[in-house]
Amino acid sequence: MVNTSTPLKAESKDLNFFYANGHQALKSVNMPLYENKITALIGPSGCGKSTFLRCFNRMHDLYPGNKYEGGIVMHPDNTNVLAAGVDPIEVRMRISMVFQKPNPFPKTIFENVAYGLHVRDEKNKRVIADKVEEALKGAALWDEVKDRLNDLAFNLSGGQQQRLCIARALATDPEIMLFDEPTSALDPIATANIEELMSELKNKLTILVVTHNMQQAARVSDYTAYMYLGELMEYGDTDTIFTRPTRRETEDYITGKFG
């Protein structure tokens, strides 16, 4: 079931996660993340898939009282990104994220994409301009915005804003990109654009995507993980999960009998 010829980019090992109120949202999750592949996390609301995703860039550290146990080990350096000695900022420098609702800064299109470079102390204007162009091209947005880079990002449509957020996440050359239901606020055409983009992006980086949309998982992902009540119920390559799931619960969820 698990492909051994593809290199691992990261893997979660016995990951437990507790919210500040004591609720255990993840229970001993073990899952590989293969390099240059798209892994989809599916499961009903509240199953812990977003919680799991947000462990990868330590977003939970922003709110006091949250607690991790176990680890998420990145390769090739074998760093456990959840280890107490690892700075969450360093983790976020390597792993970028695209959110559910487009969340551009109230700044210009250019400033939005360049922000990650600004944070990394890049001062060379030429380098910044090149990187911004490259990222916008990578996010398939360049042609639409190249003449109005100094417009405010809020003037873009919802789909364009989401691609802008992808460009922002891309500009800093991340190793892994996390997508938290990236198309749930978008119309079908914008959704198709984003999905196409993800398929291209995986040539450069590794993608982990949370989705509520079963068809989306089937269309874009190479591997799929089904989560339920904080546990990883089933993991495998997407074709297998969607055609011959080994567990009854997975099949029920995928076929819409439950969820």
Binding site: M59, L62, I89, R92, M97, F99, N103, F105, G116
Partner: protein, 322 residues
């Protein structure tokens, strides 16, 4: 409303539908009466406050009308009401406002940002939070007493512009802190997370985003605080402002490098509301005209400052949508 018999029976004849419709319409009319009643009471309540203020303002303007001229602003106070002016008072007020602004804004914004972004959330920060809100309600004369002890005697700053500016700065500090915090809280979590997600540190998030996007709200708080400070009388009297001053403090701008001098900070002073109080306490009616004119000017100044706050907030918010 009780269900009609025919509805219960399930057979809706034309007659029963019409009868039922009539009952529904009567009910809606009855319910809507409450809207009309409340709108009337609300309007009355609004007018009560607004008309009182307006009457007061018109009265002041009418009384003070003879003194609305440039001479009133360019003359020192005098024994003769007709040639007495506001020069020392408005210059005093303006210089004090500069000191107030320069102290309250950096301190207030820093405190607000710290409380909102850096302070650990526990019982101690809750306690501080409650106290900051309470400070905004402390009577201003208490600040005057504090300033008398601390600035005038303790730090030996004298009965100076610096003392007055610091006192008023302290007075409006809670307003600046509270408005800073409210403005910061208005920034959506999603924007913060977006910044953190690209690898920003807390300070980068604060300086590149939090402070920038809350500028409008902070500015509004600062100006509203300042417009309160400009009308404050009690703490200024407590620290010993003079009521009759026929000279100006040394100019803050000098003609030799570094083109600034700070002697004005230690000068004695008077301010608009004290000048007004002084004229008002005289038996001669002619001085009361001066007092009315000063009152009208203070109100206009306050309205102007609040108007500026609204305009600036609109200008800044225009580019921010969430």
């Amino acid at each position: 409303m009780a269900l009609h018999d025919s509805q219960i029976a399930g057979a809706l004849t034309k007659a029963s539908v019409l009868e039922n419709l009539g009952a529904v319409r009567a009910m809606i009319r009855r319910h809507k009466r409450n809207d009309i009643v409340f709108a009337g009471i609300g309007l009355l309540a609004l007018m009560l406050g607004l008309l009182t203020l307006l009457t007061l303002f018109i009265d002041l303007v009418m009384d003070g009308y003879p003194r609305f001229n440039l001479q009133f602003l360019s003359e020192f106070p005098s024994r003769r009401a007709g040639s007495a002016g506001l020069l020392s008072a408005w210059v005093g007020s303006a210089l004090i406002m500069i000191v107030t602004f320069l102290t309250a804004v950096p301190v207030g914004v820093a405190a607000g940002v710290y409380l909102e972004e850096y302070a650990p959330k526990n019982w101690f920060s809750d306690l501080i939070e409650i106290n900051v809100s309470n400070l905004a309600g402390v009577p201003s004369i208490i600040y005057g007493l504090l300033a008398l002890g601390l600035f005038v005697y303790g730090l030996d700053l004298g009965q100076s512009i610096l003392t007055a500016g610091l006192t008023l700065g302290l007075l409006i500090l809670p307003i600046v802190i509270v408005s800073t915090r409210e403005a910061i809280r208005g920034i959506p979590v999603a924007i913060r997370e977006a910044a953190y997600a690209v690898g920003a540190t807390k300070w980068q998030v604060v300086s590149d985003h939090v402070v920038k996007y809350s500028q409008g709200g902070i500015l509004t708080g600062v100006i509203i605080g300042m417009s309160r400070a400009i009308g404050e009388t009690a703490p200024i009297i407590t620290i010993g402002a003079l009521t009759f001053i026929a000279f100006l403090p040394p100019s803050p701008i000098s003609d030799v490098a570094p083109y600034l001098n700070f002697e004005w900070l230690s000068s004695s002073f008077t301010v608009l509301p004290i000048q007004m109080f002084n004229w008002l306490s005289r038996p001669d009616h002619a001085f009361h005209i001066n007092a009315a004119a000063t009152g009208a000017i203070i109100i206009m100044l306050t309205l102007l400052m609040n108007g500026t706050a609204i305009y600036l907030r609109y200008q800044i918010r225009k580019n921010i949508k969430w």
